[in-house]
Amino acid sequence: MPAPIRLRELIRTIRTARTQAEEREMIQKECAAIRSSFREEDNTYRCRNVAKLLYMHMLGYPAHFGQLECLKLIASQKFTDKRIGYLGAMLLLDERQDVHLLMTNCIKNDLNHSTQYVQGLALCTLGCMGSSEMCRDLAGEVEKLLKTSNSYLRKKAALCAVHVIRKVPELMEMFLPATKNLLNEKNHGVLHTSVVLLTEMCERSPDMLAHFRKVRQLSSSQLVPQLVRILKNLIMSGYSPEHDVSGISDPFLQVRILRLLRILGRNDDDSSEAMNDILAQVATNTETSKNVGNAILYETVLTIMDIKSESGLRVLAINILGRFLLNNDKNIRYVALTSLLKTVQTDHNAVQRHRSTIVDCLKDLDVSIKRRAMELSFALVNGNNVRGMMKELLYFLDSCEPEFKADCASGIFLAAEKYAPSKRWHIDTIMRVLTTAGSYVRDDAVPNLIQLITNSVEMHAYTVQRLYKAILGDYSQQPLVQVASWCIGEYGDLLVSGQCEEEEPIQVTEDEVLDILESVLISNMSASVTRGYALTAIMKLSTRFTCTVNRIKKVVSIYGSSIDVELQQRAVEYNALFKKYDHMRPALLERMPVMEKITTNGPTEIVQTNGETEPAVLETKPPPSGLQPASQANDLLDLLGGSDITPVIPTAPTSKPASAGGELLDLLGDLNLTGSPVSAPAPQIAQPPFLLDGLSSQPLFNDIAAGIPSITAYNKNGLKIDFTFERSNTNPSVTVITIQASNSTELEMTDFVFQAAVPKTFQLQLLSPSSSVIPAFNSGTITQVIKVLNPQKQQLRMRIKLTYNHKGSAMQDLAEINNFPPQSWQ
């Protein structure tokens, strides 16, 4: 068989291939030749064949059949073979391969070889890809080599030890004795690798760290001073051609020493003090014209900021970063922004000084720089600079890449919420965000915004006018349209009457308003949720507008046959409102009250405000269900006898608890909400305002007046309900009733729902029950809290309605409670 072609020949040939297919053909041919050569156990040309195989592997072709051959090469006596063999091992034999462990013995032998270059090969291979088992087996050898006087081997052994420690952290102890002498070397290679080894040990083990901080090294000086001395020598020493890079002596070693100093000085006053001088020296003396100098300065700054340095030094560091920011080199600016981001929490004021430069970086072309500048800008916004910063950030939002818009919009909202100087500014800012990046705004922002708008009572007219103008032209941005629809629904009357004070009022007719809402409804671009908002808004306008009620009725009835189930349900319910319950319509559709500031996620709070009876009531009903809750309310109305009763409708006719927080609230408008925030989100939520107006949001359970007797309000069919009372000292009109429902039968009661109604002079709030199941045999109770406002101190009366499932059938009962103790309402 002729000698296999040489490597260079092969490379040349393959490069002449003009197509992928041609190349593949050549490769396959050569692979076949190589394979047969391997089978023949040809020692002479094995290394040539493996070299060729490695080349083909790099091109992306499979080469696993060469693995064993690599092993054979490693075992050979020839240096050439070993060299290629180890290279092949590093490329093909990583620890995932089965034959990986077979290398161990060869490496062991080679670690003890007479030729240092062979030893070097073995150390290198072990240090690059040795598996944990291999490391365990060979750690002893490595440790031995760590103590040799041959600096060529010592440096490799040090890095090999680093790899062993990374793979098998338990072995770290073993290398400790050998580290004593390491820093006494003159050889830079050894110094560098030793510092790396020490760094690895200190990073991994706090014990090691403590040890190195305190223990005296062999040359009777501690680690930190020793490092400082070495660093000093490097800086002060003259030109050394070997290690020089652009006038700086061995920057690699300098940076590594700085990094180790950082770890040693962290949280340790003594060590930090020992390094202060040298850090100052490096910071001031390093040449900054080339990248090298800046690399060292960068590391120095990181170290200064991380240890317990004195404040002068910190200021120096921040100033260096400031200078970096002004540098033309993008890399330097990138690095500066990254470090500033890390330090902005601790040294806020110092970073503030560079605010304007940071804001300029927002206009940079590089994506990573822009992102860091944006994050940093948000971190720097405070009460003083909020107007200016917002202007810049809004401009940024306009022009930045889509991937940033969502984060930027959220950031702007947060910052605006915290630092808004005036309500009008806040609303303007929000409007701006909605119009520029409307489609990127996160879904949960919509309820938050709605809440904010509701709470800025004096701005309603202005807000609705601006929103109206915004969607006139373009109603494709869903969050914007949702907020706008909601506002128009709520404040449409202000819009039409032209009451705006803040800016020139526009003349809008009711029909025009309805036009825009209808186009939102019809448009293909509107999401289902948005349509829901629009329909509800139209409905609400039926009480606010005077001339166009018929048009509204028509729209509503059209959508009663909409394909979208959600829309259909709403439309049918609204229709019902028009037809059968017209007398209730004004009350239902009244203005929204000022909402409590909610500390956690808005949506869940707002949505469930109505919902204590939601699940039970709604689940059993098919679509035209809107009538049911209304009829329930009707029942209660009847019960309580006529017009002096405010209906307490506990449920929302619609069932969507999701992002459509807005429209649930809409529907119930200004009713005395008997629902309550879901207790799930966060137990520490302050209770919503007890009642709608006139009460400040005081904590309600303070100042409990003791000693009001409790009553049994209801006791029938095994269901007993007890009322216990508490009066608030701070607000004598408030009575807090805790009901406890218990079940003495032998079967549990499920889906228990408690509803209550009070006479008109009272106001009532019902919080979430503890559960909806009353276990049998009085083994547990459901508790629920009712708050009653009784400003006129009238005698407390209450009608209750109970529904539950018991023994497989649905039960329902009504009762009137008249036996309230006088102390509970006087």
């Binding site: 020839k78 270059y117 990374r166 072309l365 590089d366």
Partner: protein
């Protein structure tokens, strides 16, 4: 350093050195992804790219891109120096190195890299020492070949 890649402007791989263990498929995928990211960046951008939980530091020398992936706490600017040093070593060894040298003598490029970096960390900061070690090893090789009276591969 987690890995080092050298590739041409057309995206052809010239050298790959991995200091972490990954399956072959994974490596190929990563290479493809990174080559795409870096080739699509223009002149005006910085040399650093955030990628997964690593930072990619890359620099173009003539027609070759040198790319290193470093960890979060590593110094990016210094890594640029590391890349530069490697190129200098190649230059010293080959004398005015160009891409063809690396293509045809890829195994030597690996050897030089292995004298400079082990396990992802720099082992020798002196230019002279590193190159000397390679030349001495080469001597060893030639000697053996001469002895065996066979041509170097």
């Amino acid at each position: 350093i987690h890995f080092i890649l050298l590739f041409s402007r057309q995206g052809k791989l010239r050298l790959q050195k991995w200091y972490t263990t990954l399956p072959d498929k994974e490596k190929k995928k990563i290479i493809r992804e990174i080559v795409q990211i870096i080739l699509s960046r223009n002149q005006k951008t910085s040399s650093f790219v955030d990628w997964k939980d690593l930072k990619l530091v890359y620099k173009r020398y003539a027609s070759l891109y040198f790319c290193c992936a470093i960890e979060d706490q590593d110094n990016e600017l210094l890594t640029l120096e590391v890349v530069h040093r490697y190129v200098e070593l190649l230059d010293r060894y080959f004398g005015n190195v160009c891409e063809l040298d690396i293509i045809f003598n890829f195994e030597k490029a690996y050897f030089i890299l292995d004298e400079f970096i082990i396990g992802g960390e720099v082992q020798e900061t002196s230019k002279l020492s590193a190159v000397k070690a390679i030349e001495d090893s080469d001597m060893l090789q030639e000697t053996v070949e001469e002895y065996m009276n066979k041509p170097a591969f």
